[in-house]
Amino acid sequence: MEKEHFFDKPKNVKRFLMGFYISLVVLIVVDLFLTLMHLKHPDFSWEKFPSFYGAFGFIACVLLVLAAKHILRKFVKRGEDYYD
């Protein structure tokens, strides 16, 4: 019987995800604090929205994946031996 590894236990995966979600909440709170205390020095006005960077990162990645999957792959995907 092989040794059981860290992510083999569903409980550990859950804990890992939980920790990750908590860190997201902490980041939103800290960012709000910094924004309200005027501790940020943005170049552009939209950077002043609380959690602008988080929202941007999330939306950017969803759009990236959807565009790559549904648009780019349609145009460029060929069989593995296409050039042979």
């Binding site: 990750f20 990162g57 995907k77 031996d81």
Partner: protein
């Protein structure tokens, strides 16, 4: 004090005469001597040889060339350590010649010696691709070679026109003015993976040898970044070219199955940031470009080494075949994650303190569209290099592969690179102190750290939710067409025409074609 290129080239000559331990020691001693030699090289212009009416300068030593000198020498040491057990002398010789000629380019003060070193780089690097010995590496290497011959030819034409117009072969600021400069920019652009002429890189690098890719990832593109920073700073076109380079490869990286090809696409993305920095041309952006090249060479080598270790141990590199390797290769997984964190710009890693200078420079200059593209590209690179690479290789579903860590020398090479990635991230002052311009930039402000962490963590959230919901595109064994399609399929058309060309049709077709090409060229100018 010896010319850095000479150290490596003489080093290469001795390789065939050494055996066993002596050879292994020699492979490490050469870059070590190279590094010590750099420490005693003063700034200035020296090693000048008179040739006909021209001055050939082998030692243009200033802050800009020194930074690249340091990093090229450091990465050649790391690469040599990683490749220490390779039995094929040819690869060691090619790697040393490759490093030597890249250093030759960096310290060249004239266009003639620059061009010669440029071409030696092409030959040495092609050998590292062919040395894999597979059918795929042979054909990819051939295409690589032809594309670089085209680039070299364009560079040569540009140099001849430029020298004819200015009467000087000195290599310095050129700027976009006149036909010669366009040809030179195109020649540099081939090596710098400009869009459309970029396809040689994701075509050839994944087919190269496991150890060869480490050298390839360092020298060709970054010596091109160096010459662009030297000769075309503040050229506005580069801002837009660079911005395109940061954006389009990440879409390819998302759907690509071969993990070394994913890294190849993200290499283009990272070089794009540097090209933007050159285009903006302020002290902040140029410092950003140079420091980012320095950091990038280390983490890119680290990522290619970790994927090379996976390929070395399992014989597999496609995401569809891998997964769960953290169980048997925990150290390689850790090093890969450090490289992935650095390329993503996680605080306290090297990417954070270098890339942000370029993004800030675009913000300070108020170039809104570019700033947004760079931010998008930052999120995207985290998505595919930061998460996808380690996730599909070491975690994801268990592929059932049970292997072990690679040999000690490979682990050590990765360890050194990983250490430097974190060292630069925590103590950026060391790197900042050798940059071309005085650094007035503070990366670690509370706002900047939180902004970057938000960008990365919420990108990770997107990845997480897309994977858990099953929307994330499953890895598929496939060929994804890129611009190399035109010459890979175009060659067939050419062959088809040749086979059907009788003397009579040739007499009609060739003059017609020639006439058409000439009238197009005359139409443009």
């Amino acid at each position: 004090m010896i010319n850095p290129a000479v150290i490596f080239i003489i080093g290469a000559l001795f390789v065939p005469f050494l055996k066993g331990k002596a050879k292994q020691n020699w492979l490490l001693i050469v870059p070590a001597i190279g590094l010590l030699n750099l420490f005693i090289m003063p700034e200035g212009t020296y090693w000048i040889v008179n040739f006909l009416d021209y001055k050939i300068i082998f030692g243009k030593v200033d802050k800009l060339s020194m930074v690249f000198g340091y990093i090229f020498t450091i990465v050649s040491f790391i690469g040599a350590l990683y490749a220490l057990r390779v039995k094929d002398d040819g690869q060691h010789i090619a790697a040393l010649l490759y490093a030597g000629s890249a250093l030759g380019v960096v310290f060249a003060g004239d266009m003639l010696s620059l061009f010669i070193f440029w071409e030696i780089m092409t030959i040495a690097s092609t050998y590292l691709i062919w040395a894999r010995g597979t059918e795929a590496s042979y054909t990819a290497g051939l295409r690589y070679f032809l594309v670089h011959l085209f680039g070299g030819l364009s560079l040569l034409i540009g140099i001849i026109i430029h020298v004819y117009q200015t009467g000087s072969i000195e290599f310095g600021v050129i700027g976009l003015n006149g036909l010669g400069s366009y040809f030179i920019l195109l020649g540099f652009g081939v090596n710098c993976v400009f869009p459309i002429i970029h396809a040689w890189l994701p075509d050839a690098y994944p087919e190269s040898t496991i150890t060869g890719t480490v050298f390839l990832s360092a020298f060709t593109t970054k010596s091109a970044v160096y010459v662009l920073a030297r000769s075309f700073p503040g050229t506005e076109a580069l801002i837009w070219i660079g911005a395109m380079m940061t954006a389009f490869p990440i879409f390819y990286a998302v759907i690509e199955n071969n993990l070394r090809r994913v890294l190849s696409y993200s290499l283009i993305n990272q070089v794009g940031f540097m090209v933007v920095g050159i285009g903006i041309g302020t002290e902040l952006s140029l410092n950003g470009t140079v420091s980012h090249a320095f950091a990038h060479i280390l983490y890119k080598a680290l990522l290619f080494m970790s994927m090379g270790a996976v390929l070395h141990q399992t014989g597999k590199i496609n995401a569809t075949d891998l997964g769960g390797l953290y169980k048997t290769m925990p150290l390689t997984a850790l090093f890969c994650i450090i490289g992935a964190a650095s390329i993503s710009g996680v605080p306290f890693t090297s990417g954070f303190v270098t890339k942000s200078m370029i993004v800030s420079a675009s913000g300070h200059e108020g170039i809104v569209a570019v700033w947004i593209v760079l931010l998008f590209a930052s999120a995207g690179v985290f998505h595919h290099s930061g998460i996808k690479i380690p996730f599909f290789a070491f975690f994801s579903h268990d592929s059932g592969i049970r292997t072990k860590e690679p040999p000690l020398n490979m682990l050590l090479a990765m360890g050194i690179a990983a250490f430097l990635c974190i060292f630069i991230g925590i103590f950026p002052g060391t790197l900042y102190s050798i940059l071309p311009y005085p650094v007035d930039y503070v990366p670690y402000t509370a706002g900047h750290v939180v902004d970057m962490l938000q960008l990365l963590f919420f990108s990770a959230l997107a990845f997480c939710l897309l994977i858990l919901s099953g929307i994330y595109p499953s890895e598929i064994r496939a060929t994804n067409l890129d611009t190399d399609w035109f010459y890979r399929k175009g060659a067939n058309v050419f062959n088809w025409v040749l086979k059907r060309l009788t003397p009579i049709t040739a007499f009609i077709v060739i003059p017609l074609l020639g006439g058409a090409i000439i009238s197009v060229i005359m139409g443009i100018y």
